[in-house]
């Protein structure tokens, strides 16, 4: 009664944050003193993280823990519905300032959502139309960029003969990869993914994970996931969110094999959440 794991619990820290410091993968994005409010209620506080270039960082935690709120704040997708204070430093520039052009910023920090959301256009136009709006008009240029994006998203071989088909006819996994292709066509620097596999079947999920592992050669990837195996499989770093705070941040192997915070330990071992 007196000598069980209660003792080890006393050893546990309340928060444990180790920011990445790897000369090969310098920090490209970091948050400082970030707070997010929906109306009067605070959805996120104590969420200061640094993200390493060309690495995959996973954000995990129970639903309502603030991980999606945090992710959506990074490229200011929450601007209309929430108040975000603090700094979001992107390669030395605070992009959370009113004079930063959000449209230009979102071209560098792209996003893929939970539910695949292909537009009601052809597969080709899903990718090409944003490029056209940004001044790429030559057919050859467009063709080449569409092909490159589809290849990177591992979708080219399946759709190369039916590029004029409506994208709404694609399966869930294909549609999600089209959304990734669409996002990387603009050559972003950072790719934010908000539970991209939660609406997919296991086969599509594992294909998507393979794709992400290849994509990190070109992009810095931050992914929110409720699937802990997924975080363990693909990410270098993992942040654990709970009740609006980051409780633990470290390399993925540390988080999953040797968590320092009790709640993290409970969560990754499946005891709650």
């Amino acid at each position: 009664m007196f000598v069980n794991n209660d003792v080890s619990k006393q050893d546990m820290e309340e928060r444990h944050i180790v920011q990445p410091h790897d000369p090969d993968h310098p920090v490209v994005l970091s948050t400082e003193d970030l707070h997010v409010y929906y109306g009067k209620s605070e959805a996120l506080y104590e969420g200061d993280l640094k993200f390493a270039q060309n690495q995959i960082t996973a954000l995990i935690g129970p639903s309502g823990s603030g991980k999606s709120t945090f992710l959506r704040s990074l490229n200011r997708m929450n601007d209309r519905i929430a108040t975000v204070t603090g700094k979001i430093m992107y390669r030395g520039v605070d992009v959370n300032q009113p004079d930063v052009d959000v449209y230009e910023m979102r071209r560098r920090i792209g996003m893929v959502f939970q539910r695949p959301n292909p537009f009601a256009k052809s597969i080709y136009d899903n990718i090409a139309f944003a490029l056209r709006l940004r001044g790429v008009t030559a057919k050859k240029d467009l063709d080449e960029k569409v092909e490159r994006s589809l290849r990177q998203a591992a979708l080219w071989d399946q759709v190369k003969d039916e590029l004029t088909k409506s994208a709404l006819a694609l399966s869930g996994g294909q549609a999600q990869r089209l959304c990734i292709a669409r996002a990387i066509a603009l050559r972003p620097d950072i790719l934010l993914l908000d539970e991209p596999a939660s609406a997919l079947d296991p086969v599509s999920t594992s294909q998507l994970e393979d794709t992400l592992l290849k994509l990190k050669e070109h992009y810095t990837i931050i992914i929110v996931t409720h699937n802990m195996q997924q975080a363990a499989r693909i990410s270098e770093y993992t942040a654990f969110f709970n009740q609006g705070r980051v409780l633990e941040y470290d390399t993925t192997s540390h988080i999953f094999t040797n968590p320092r915070v009790q709640v993290t330990s409970d969560y990754v071992s499946g005891n709650f959440g």
Partner: protein, 313 residues
């Protein structure tokens, strides 16, 4: 292949330059907001113009508002024994309210009954036949209703009750048929918005289908059904041509339902072309239009109040 990155200073400059998207956004906001403001301006202009014209009877021509609302004699060109113009609008106000209330009274049970039938008793036939037909009939122009009233209802009334056949009764019949599809279709919408589990819960408790309809479904849909009826009334009150064609257009207090009578709208449609702008005769007509406009605001208010009450429950 790594993306080559600009220096921090360059990046800052690029990020703080106003992009084409940002400029388009401002343009889009301005354009779409202007369109919205235009509509609001139209509403303000309509109310403003009609009100200023309608008030002229009382300010310029010094007609007493009370005499206008309660006087029974409508002859704006003629002065009465006291030298005052005869601009009593009571007969038309009564005419308008009478046909509105009567037609709504008749239409309501039929409309709600049909809506219940189409939604609760025979949803298949309802969706396949009744609903498309009612929706089509909602779109039938009111002159067509007026013409049928003239060629079917008026002769029928004449044969049964004698007289000319023109009057409140014919007007009520025409309006009843005219608002029936509107009220039915809106009532059906209201019933459809009652969640299915309400019915299932009630039936599971052993209630009969009728008890479920009467005690659960109709009760839950009451605000929506009331809104449907008020909409029907507003439409009946504001209808001009269909009524004007069958009511007889005699601005007299209606003593029976089969004597020729008049409504605000019928006098307006026949009169406005035969009077000179700015004359008392003309101003008096605009006052009728103002009454019409105010009544439509009242109907609007009632709908809002119902909506607010519905939300509280």
């Amino acid at each position: 292949m790594k993306n080559t990155q600009p220096t921090t200073a360059d990046l800052e400059r690029q990020l703080k330059r106003r992009s084409k998207a940002a400029k388009l956004e401002v343009w889009g906001r301005v354009v779409s907001f202007s369109a919205l403001i235009l509509i609001v301006a139209v509403v303000v202009a309509i109310i403003g113009f009609v009100a200023s014209k309608g008030i002229a009877t009382f300010t310029t021509n010094h007609v007493n508002l009370w005499d206008f609302l309660t006087g029974k004699d409508w002859n704006p060109g003629i002065k009465d024994a006291h030298g005052k113009p005869e601009v009593g609008a009571l007969s038309m106000i009564v005419g308008s309210f009478l046909i509105t209330i009567l037609s709504a009274l008749i239409a309501t049970p039929f409309a709600i009954g049909t809506a219940v039938f189409m939604n609760e008793i025979s949803p298949n036939r309802g969706a396949k036949i009744l609903q498309p037909v009612t929706e089509l009939l909602v779109g039938i122009p009111s002159v067509v209703y007026g013409f049928i009233g003239l060629s079917v209802v008026v002769p029928f009334t004449r044969n049964v009750f004698g007289g000319s056949g023109f009057g409140i009764l014919s007007g009520t019949c025409v309006l009843f048929v005219m608002i029936l599809p509107t009220v039915t279709s809106m009532s059906a919408d209201a019933l459809r918005s009652v969640p299915r589990y309400y019915r299932e819960a009630s039936l599971a408790l052993g209630a009969t289908q009728w008890q479920t309809i009467w005690k659960v479904v109709l009760r839950a849909a009451t605000p929506g059904l009331m809104t449907a009826v008020v909409f029907g009334m507003a439409r009946a009150f504001g209808e001009a041509l269909a009524v004007q064609m069958v009511i007889g257009n005699a601005a007299l207090m209606p003593h029976t339902l089969v004597d020729p009578a008049a409504t605000l709208t019928s006098v307006l449609t026949t009169g406005i072309g035969n009077t000179v702008m700015g004359s008392l005769q003309n101003n008096a007509l605009w006052s009728l239009a103002l009454v019409l406009l105010l009544m439509s605001l009242v109907f609007n208010l009632i709908v809002r109040l119902i909506g607010r009450k519905g939300r509280l429950h």
